[in-house]
């Protein structure tokens, strides 16, 4: 009617399908439908992985592995919960395993910064909030430094921070995703915030000292 080719119409109709229908098709043998499903969620999954790992390659690997696991376990998916939530639980568990495997927790951050990182910290100390928001988008070091700061957290604390702050999940949703009690989530969130604040304030104090010296 509007001059759309059959192929394009088919593509439009495919994108209109809800996740559950695509899942039914995959389980029915049309495995091609999974690429459509993965395409819908890829960006969100990769973004979530990047919140845990600064290494882009690592983030992409874990995102890819998440989709493989989702595909192999698709028969266990129950339509009571959204597919996005189910997939997020897979991603989060993979990231958690990887964080635990790394076991890298530099306790002492202060005094081990590159020149751009020091510049960024000085900007955080001195610039206006509007300037900070604008500058952070442009500066890679803001991203790297944030990762270094988050790397100081225990894996459990980091999981809670990311799910609470970035994914904006409630305590009960985090508890359900991680299979923890709500009390544990609350304690972890409290400890994570305290630890982060402590490290961040030390960093800011150190950068303030550097600025005064220069």
């Amino acid at each position: 009617m509007f001059g759309l080719s059959a192929r394009r119409r088919a593509r439009w109709s495919l994108t209109d399908k809800p996740d559950e229908e695509l899942i039914r098709e995959v389980l029915g043998g049309q495995t091609d439908s999974f690429s459509e499903l993965a395409g819908r969620h890829r960006q969100r999954v990769e973004r979530l992985c990047r919140r845990f790992f600064s290494d882009e390659e690592m983030a992409r690997d874990i995102a890819q592995e998440s989709f493989i696991r989702a595909f192999t376990a698709l028969a266990t998916y129950r339509a009571e919960m959204p597919f996005g939530g189910w997939l997020r639980a897979i991603v989060v568990n993979l990231c958690y395993d990887e964080l635990r495997r790394r076991r890298r927790r530099p306790e002492e951050l202060v005094g081990d910064f590159s020149a751009p990182e020091v510049q960024w910290m000085q900007l955080v100390n001195g610039a206006t909030p509007e300037q900070l928001v604008g500058e952070a988008e442009e500066r890679r070091e803001s991203y790297d430094l944030a990762h270094r700061l988050l790397d100081t957290l225990k894996p459990e604390d980091r999981m809670v921070m990311v799910l609470k702050e970035s994914e904006e999940l409630s305590v009960s949703e985090i508890a359900e995703t991680l299979g923890w009690s709500e009390a544990k989530v609350k304690i972890r969130a409290f400890r994570a915030r305290q630890a982060l604040r402590k490290q961040a304030e030390r960093m800011l104090a150190a950068s303030g000292r550097t600025r005064n010296q220069s």
Partner: protein, 153 residues
């Protein structure tokens, strides 16, 4: 706007999702409240990872070999330390596979040592007739008469 409300809006300010009016209120509060201003600066240190919706800026240009070396050294050593806490089924499967390969390789090496080899004494015990020896070595060669009775028959 009080301090609690302002701090609740830090993420919206960072993500640029606050309305113009709300944004102005938050910024005005940050100017007037030193504690919230400091809290925002602490927030800003982790916000690029926790609250950014966009892809991170590209890393500084590094040569490909250096980048590869960095990314490899940054990777965890998967079998560096296996404790009860960190042991996962996947790791155990990998270790079992490695052990199996090791055992197979070891047994292959062992049997290859024990297998009879052609030694100098073997060479010395070769038949005197070189033709006969070649005939014996070649399974497709016609059978040669070896003794007088063979020749008679």
């Amino acid at each position: 706007m009080n301090c609690f409300e302002a701090r609740q809006e830090f993420a919206a300010l960072w993500r640029n999702t606050a309305s113009g009016e709300r944004r102005a209120e938050i910024l005005a509060h940050l100017k007037s409240c030193a504690k919230c201003d400091h809290a925002f600066r602490v927030f800003a240190l982790t916000a690029p990872v926790l609250h950014s919706e966009s892809e991170p800026p590209a890393a500084a240009r590094v040569s490909a070999p250096a980048r590869r070396e960095f990314s490899l050294s940054d990777r965890p050593r998967r079998f560096a330390s296996v404790s009860r806490e960190t042991a996962s089924p996947r790791r155990w499967v990998a270790m079992a596979a490695a052990a199996a390969i090791f055992v197979i390789a070891g047994s292959a090496a062992f049997y290859s040592v024990d297998a009879p080899r052609e030694t100098l004494s073997d060479e010395l015990s070769m038949p005197e007739s070189n033709d006969n020896y070649q005939a014996a070595a070649d399974p497709l060669a016609p059978e040669m008469p070896m003794t007088e009775s063979d020749l008679a028959s």
